[in-house]
């Protein structure tokens, strides 16, 4: 037999592609994307905040640039992805340390899995994310500072 096989690995589509998947898989995708976004923000934040060591004048110049409404919107976006990454991260810590996946049980059809064990945690985390986003949005756009 000719050993000519087709490589059927899904590649990056397997990570990002949609399909008839469960909610947790979409949260997995979002967790990755928000993580990368936060890392990008962090790098900018380190350099921007380090300007303070040059004294008040330089700091004033940097802050004047950041007064731009684009940065205001950017700040809100960072807050949204931070809220998601943080709360989904708490959920993942509980799960990956084996605290929220339950114990092994006899599989009886219709099968229940560890996804059912962690679902209340997921719902609570996502509700808190929504609340934080609303509160953060109010604070960012209508807050006193």
């Amino acid at each position: 037999m000719a050993n000519k096989q087709f490589d059927n690995h899904l590649g990056i589509v397997g990570w990002l592609g949609g399909g008839r998947w469960g909610v947790e898989r979409y949260l997995y995708i979002l967790h990755r994307l928000t993580g990368l976004g936060l890392l990008l923000f962090l790098l900018m934040h380190i350099f921007a905040s380090s300007v303070r060591m040059y004294g008040p004048e330089s700091w004033g110049v940097a802050m004047a640039i950041l007064k731009n409404p684009v940065f205001k919107l950017g700040e809100f976006c960072v807050f949204v992805i931070f809220a998601f990454h943080a709360l989904n991260g708490i959920r993942l810590i509980f799960i990956e340390l084996g605290l929220a996946v339950g114990r092994a049980e006899e599989p009886v059809y219709p099968y229940k899995s560890s996804l059912n064990n962690q679902r209340p945690l997921m719902v609570v985390a996502m509700v808190l994310v929504a609340i934080l986003i609303v509160a953060g949005g109010y604070n960012t756009f209508f807050g006193s500072h």
């Binding site: 936060l38 890392l39 060591m53 700091w59 931070f82 604070n139 006193s144 500072h145």
Partner: protein, 123 residues
């Protein structure tokens, strides 16, 4: 076993970030709860910034936060890149580069925190 150590500290760093970045958010965005913003203006006004830079506790948490965030972020990035299935040589090089970049950034951030503190005492 090495990967277990990397990963465990990745999780610990995540928890540290949760606590300190949570505090950071309260200090920066909810000034009414904070004792770290003595001046009435915005939290980014120089008076407030200088006060926070001089505060020993905040300077210390900044440095811890910086280290935790860099480790957590770069380990996460490394995981994502490794899962794309690059060559072994690339993986080793990438790990080394991330360590170097991480340490340099940590150096910059720490220097800024210490220099800002020194600057204030000099003024």
């Amino acid at each position: 076993m090495k990967e277990t150590a990397y990963w465990t500290w990745f999780i610990i760093a995540g928890i540290v970030i949760l606590v300190i970045a949570g505090l950071h958010m309260v200090v920066m965005h909810l000034p009414m709860f904070g004792v770290f913003n003595p001046e009435s203006g915005a939290v980014t006004d120089w008076g407030n910034v200088a006060f926070r830079s001089q505060n020993q506790f905040l300077a210390f948490t900044y440095i811890i936060l910086l280290g935790a965030v860099l480790y957590h972020g770069f380990y996460g990035l490394r995981t994502i890149v490794f899962e794309l299935g690059p060559k072994k040589s690339f993986q080793d090089g990438f790990t080394v580069i991330l360590w170097i970049v991480g340490l340099v950034l940590f150096g910059i951030g720490t220097y800024a925190a210490i220099a800002a503190k020194a600057l204030e005492t000099a003024l």
